[in-house]
Symmetry: C2
Subunit: 751 residues, 2 copies
């Protein structure tokens, strides 16, 4: 390989002389060839000034890099956690290096090459004798950063910078850098840390990409092979765990191709969830571009039915109307498709995929493109008016490498987005929340998933890392909108158990936009207990706005206490039941997340339909839930045993049913009306539901009736044991016969 | 007067025939003459289609009114509180009637006149025998609504509708309406309810305007006189109070002119605060337009040096960068200059004032205009490119009819807005918060004023009226960022006492944009205790962003406990002191608002500078406060004794100093850095303050030193007893001599 490069180099070097006197050290060899390519750079240079979004992006990057270069080079001795000075400086360095490399290629201004070389030589001088990072928290400590993960980030970006100035450097400089910096760096994060490198995990993906990318630039086949297939004999302990409690060892699978194979389902869902997919997409895609350019024979973008390209589509579909990702599993709220990783993902998926014009509309919102072939391609598409809107519809995405480990459904209707989770564990960042759901209205949290207890990169909050409360609260079942049995999280909150199981989709049918149904079952969260939840997005016009029916059927061999929390966000408007308000607040429990909840009120239902109304973001919502006289309604609030104020003080309502074996929870979540503090008009502030009832329940069928105040009545019957679309059913409810075909039946009548 | 109208009517009726066959009942007499005028309507009709914002506003109103008319007329028997069905329907009716009247005049489509007539006749039929409203809560119950206030709203709007169809109606119809509806209606809210009508209060302003406006339309001089000058012998009890605890009787002052005289300061500040000024502006202005048109000899817009026009300017200046009013006294947060009342205010102030082109920029944001002379004037100004930006600068506004009862200061610099309150009580909606301040950054609450405990017009929350917690929490001193002595609110929270006093401005100097100073004293809140607070907005570049210095000097004859709360909004990032976290939460006290605070932590300072950092809206803030070793730092949270979840669960930090007579609280509030959940970059998350110190304090001088981590040092000396700009001062601090002229001195040096 190297021979070939050098051979070609001589030929192309002759052409390089034409580029002008300021580039006297440039020899136009095959480099750049990793992300930028020689031909691509020529195309880009030819188009400069004629592709507005590309030009604007270039201008922005130039301003940013020039400003940073003005500050001089700073490569401090590593010392801090994320958010701390040395961490942030090294992070800034690798981001700027990559950009400077691109600027050097596109603008052919040598100052960028000099900057990169000088900084790299500073790193080289430091790295030679650099010990492992002084912070000891990580299961895989890095050298520049407290964890190998960040060291890998560094190398993924710096490889690109190195590629951009490769030809410009002298052979001596290259040798010096490769011998003292890149090769030892790559070895350290791989064979030096197999527990980090040799896994199926987003950490390893970064590690693999880092090693592979520098390998591609250096033409080092050993590194490339290691990156693609992992280390053969890693000597890892099968029971070892990482900082997040995830197992290190994954059935001997390792390397980039395994990482590409395992976590993505055939639908493109990434098992850790969108927040981590976003994070992992960068190394997946950028290394793939390198492989595409240098090892086209791998057909990396066609791998597994083009799963990488598909996964970008899935990721965008897992964002709300504002482009913010649904916070499944560990996820910081607010992360969105405006992030730099998604600029990469959208541009690469467009260019190396099928030029999906819907991606252009996302790129347009992002308002910037990558400064490479893919960015040029996107910016040109936008310039040429090829943009189509990215309309997000209801979607069901399977989980697991073979698509058989549960999944995620998003039901959408008007401004509502309901996200239903029946996935596998999602590796070590997974939450214990089988059959949970969250609800957004016009991009605003209405029934929230807490997300994670972490302030990423904010040093003050536990070094920017995961906080204790992430495990003690955010991962626990009670932090989610799903059922908790006997105040114990699903799988006892144990990763060893949870990672062996997944829920099963029972039914997903959005063929009727006015009656979208998703239903799934979970049999392993509590051995001996079967849970079956059905969510119906009912938008047939019976109510002012679409409403959600929530039917949660539980069958157990034992008597249990069931808690079903609704994490509503907003100001309580009214309840229709009486409750005691304690004069002082006590934690609701001692562990499993309950220790973080203060009990603000204990209510007893007065009628069969307990109601809670709240106001959020200028809109009213009412939860109507079917209650027994023995049920308790607990108002709780997050914040107990949180001495460092790491948690938000959000409320929730828990429906508690004691001493039950088999039971059905039936609720409706109803958005209605609106309020403006400017007009002070309050419109439709009351629920439109007259009655919610469970009219039939057996092993085979469950039937719900919902009556509106306007005089409409709807009956929803679900077959609990057959999803055949052909099967005919007959059922008598209250002496009336019903006949239908298929897994569920829905009839509306006038009262 | 009536004779004149009828005489003219005959003449103009002949002209009316020319208007076309569809208007066969229209006689173009002197009506409309209240808000719309005959000449004005002609001008408007001539300009139709050529003034974009006017045309757009007309279109919107037409769509709205037509839609409402399609629903048919509904005048239900009064029954509900605000937010309830009958209340909202009658409210909607009067708003639509007024608009329909305007549409009739401008579009000359008789259907609007018919609609108005028919609805008025329905009201007439109902009103004759209508008893007082069944809800008993108000001190002045209305008939259509639960309080005379809302009945007055109705009449203010309906008078305008009546004026628009006056000529179109038959004499018989007019007689019927006036005899059975308007005159008794006007009598009921005035002589029937002198405790409502005969005060200096926004309630009375509405009552006065209502009676006056219908009087103007009817040509009823008795009503007009009553409106302008009040009822002479009202027989009111001098000790009687309204629902809000305000005194009814105001030194025998009553009527519209007194209401115009009393509450406005010469600077245009309205003593109740901007939220209520916004509410009161409508009757003030709309009745004034009527008086201007029909009784120009009053010179109403020139009254008190054009105070009405000035007050609109003041009101806009009391809004944050998003146009939301600072929530001084009882005020619902979010109310802004986008409200319909401010559309009226801006249009009228522009047209009847000096055509201030800055007002056009507000009107542009409002994106709608009144459908009358003033709206046409504004829309034409915008069309003709006369718009100038309304730049809001630092401002000081006196309170009190003569401007001698304290005031309000707003210090502005970059994105920061600091609002300092040293007013009079502000009538019955006033809060007990002398020398309090609130802080906004780019329109976001950083140190909040709670506002009021009320959800206006939301029936579910106490009928949309004031909640108990408004008195028990929102009005109390502890709910504000100011000093509380011995856990007792200012003036013991008693209106009788508070309404007799006001704070005194000591100093306001914004001549140096980088060093803006405001200072005021309060001697009556706690007899025997002198409070003197100085706030400095320091934007001289010593810190990344402008910071606030807060110097609160207290001198008392007795030993007291002082509490100084900072109602910070956002997520706690870090504190530099240790604190205990209770395992259960107890209320901090039993009354004066303390019963609503849970104690979440009790800290002891470790150093002389206690620090709390928090994150709000993507920005970091640090409070640095000078502490003694005996001080306590209390983390508290609102929500105790709030069984109906009427209060928000916001936090605050209270600096508590016990057993003190004379002391100085010195703090700095420092915005710094930023954080984005999309980039996950955390920039400048740490305070830039190295040290804050009190280096001198005597009866005459207080001196503060502040050192930055970047090596700058600033000394601020304030003279406590002389604000003379000419006076020369000399002072020795730590053996160093300082000399300066004027009330304060500021020096920066390098450390």
């Amino acid at each position: 390989m190297r021979t070939k490069i050098n051979l070609l180099g001589v030929l192309v070097m002759l052409g390089g002389i034409l580029l002008g006197p300021s580039l006297n050290r440039v020899s136009a060899q095959e480099h750049p060839n990793l992300v930028l390519t020689k031909a691509g750079v020529e195309r880009i240079r030819k188009e400069l000034g004629s592709v507005p979004l590309f030009d604007a992006s270039l201008k922005k990057i130039k301003v940013e890099v020039d400003a940073e270069m003005d500050l001089g080079i700073d490569t401090p001795i590593p010392k801090d956690y994320s958010g701390g000075y040395t961490h942030e400086q090294h992070k800034r360095n690798f981001l700027i290096l990559q950009k400077a490399g691109v600027l050097f290629q596109i603008l052919q201004d040598e100052k960028y090459a000099i900057y990169i070389r000088d900084m790299l030589l500073q790193y080289e001088a430091m790295y030679k004798d650099l010990p492992v990072h002084p912070k000891e928290r990580s299961y895989a400590r890095g050298k520049l950063f407290w964890q190998c993960l960040n060291d890998s980030n560094w190398l993924v970006y710096v490889s690109q910078a190195y590629d951009c100035i490769y030809d410009w450097l002298s052979k001596k400089e290259r040798n010096q850098l490769e011998k003292n910096l890149f090769r030892p760096f790559a070895d350290f994060i791989s064979i030096g840390n197999p527990q980090f490198f040799n896994r199926v995990h987003n950490h390893s993906t970064w590690g693999n990409a880092a090693v592979g990318m520098i390998g591609l630039v250096m033409g080092d086949e050993e590194l490339i092979h290691r990156a693609l297939y992992g280390i053969e004999n890693d000597g890892l302990d099968a029971n070892a765990k990482d900082n997040d409690g995830g197992f290190i060892k994954t059935d001997g699978k390792a390397g980039f191709l395994a990482n590409l194979e395992e976590p993505f389902s055939p639908d493109g869902y990434y098992t850790e969830g969108p927040y981590y997919q976003r994070y992992a997409m960068y190394p997946f895609l950028i290394f793939s571009v390198g492989l595409h350019n240098i090892k086209p024979e791998l057909g990396i973008f066609e791998h597994k039915d083009s799963v990488l390209i598909k996964s970008v589509d899935a990721l965008i579909n897992l964002s709300n109307v504002d482009g913010e990702f649904f916070p499944l599993n560990d996820a910081q709220k607010g992360m969105s498709y405006y992030s730099r990783e998604l600029v990469t993902a959208v541009d690469i998926a467009y260019h190396y995929g099928k030029k999906d014009p819907r991606l252009l509309s996302i790129a347009e919102k992002q308002d910037r493109v990558l400064l490479d072939d893919s960015g040029l391609s996107v910016a040109s598409g936008i310039r040429d008016g090829e943009v189509e809107p990215f309309e997000k519809h209801s979607i069901n995405l399977s989980d697991g490498r073979d698509g058989k480990q549960g999944g995620i459904s998003v039901l959408r209707k008007e401004d509502l987005e309901l996200v239903f989770k029946y996935t596998a564990q999602g590796l070590s960042h997974g939450h214990y929340d089988k059959l949970s759901f969250m609800l957004y209205d016009d991009g605003v949290d209405v029934l929230q998933d807490y997300g994670m207890a972490r302030f990423v990169n904010i040093e003050q909050k536990g070094g920017g890392n995961y906080l204790e409360e992430n495990t003690s609260w955010a991962k626990q079942t009670i932090a989610h909108n799903t059922l908790i049995q006997n105040e114990t999280s699903h799988f006892e909150g144990k990763y060893e158990i949870g990672s062996q199981h997944h829920s099963e989709l029972y039914l997903y049918d959005v063929s009727n936009d006015g009656l979208q149904v998703v239903s799934a079952k979970e049999s392993n969260a509590y051995p001996g207990t079967e849970m079956h939840r059905t969510l119906v997005l009912l938008g047939d016009g019976a109510f002012e706005q679409p409403i959600i029916l929530d039917v949660f059927k539980v069958d157990s061999k034992t008597l249990n206490q069931y808690d079903l929390p609704y994490h509503f966000l907003g100001q309580v408007m009214r309840v229709n039941f009486e409750y005691d308000s304690p004069s002082s607040l006590q934690p609701l429990g001692t562990d499993q997340g309950y220790q973080h909840l203060y009990l603000e009120g204990v209510g007893k239902p007065k009628t069969k339909n307990a109601q809670l109304s709240w106001l959020q973001n200028g809109k009213f919502y009412t939860l109507t839930t079917l209650t027994n006289s023995e049920d308790e309604l607990l108002f709780t609030r997050i914040g107990a045993n949180d001495p460092e104020f790491n948690l938000r003080r959000d409320a929730n309502l828990i429906l508690r049913r004691k001493n039950s074996k088999n039971t059905v929870f039936v609720s409706a979540v109803e958005p209605h009306g609106n309020y403006s503090p400017v007009s002070e008009f309050s419109v439709n502030s009351n629920s439109g539901i007259k009655e919610l009832g469970l009219v039939y329940d057996s092993k085979d069928y469950t039937a719900i009736v919902i009556k509106s105040l306007k005089g409409k009545q709807a009956l929803f019957i679900i077959s609990n044991n057959s999803t055949s679309k052909e099967k005919k059913h007959t059922l008598t409810i209250n002496k009336k016969d019903y006949q239908w075909t298929g897994p569920y039946h829905f009839i509306t009548t006038k009262n």
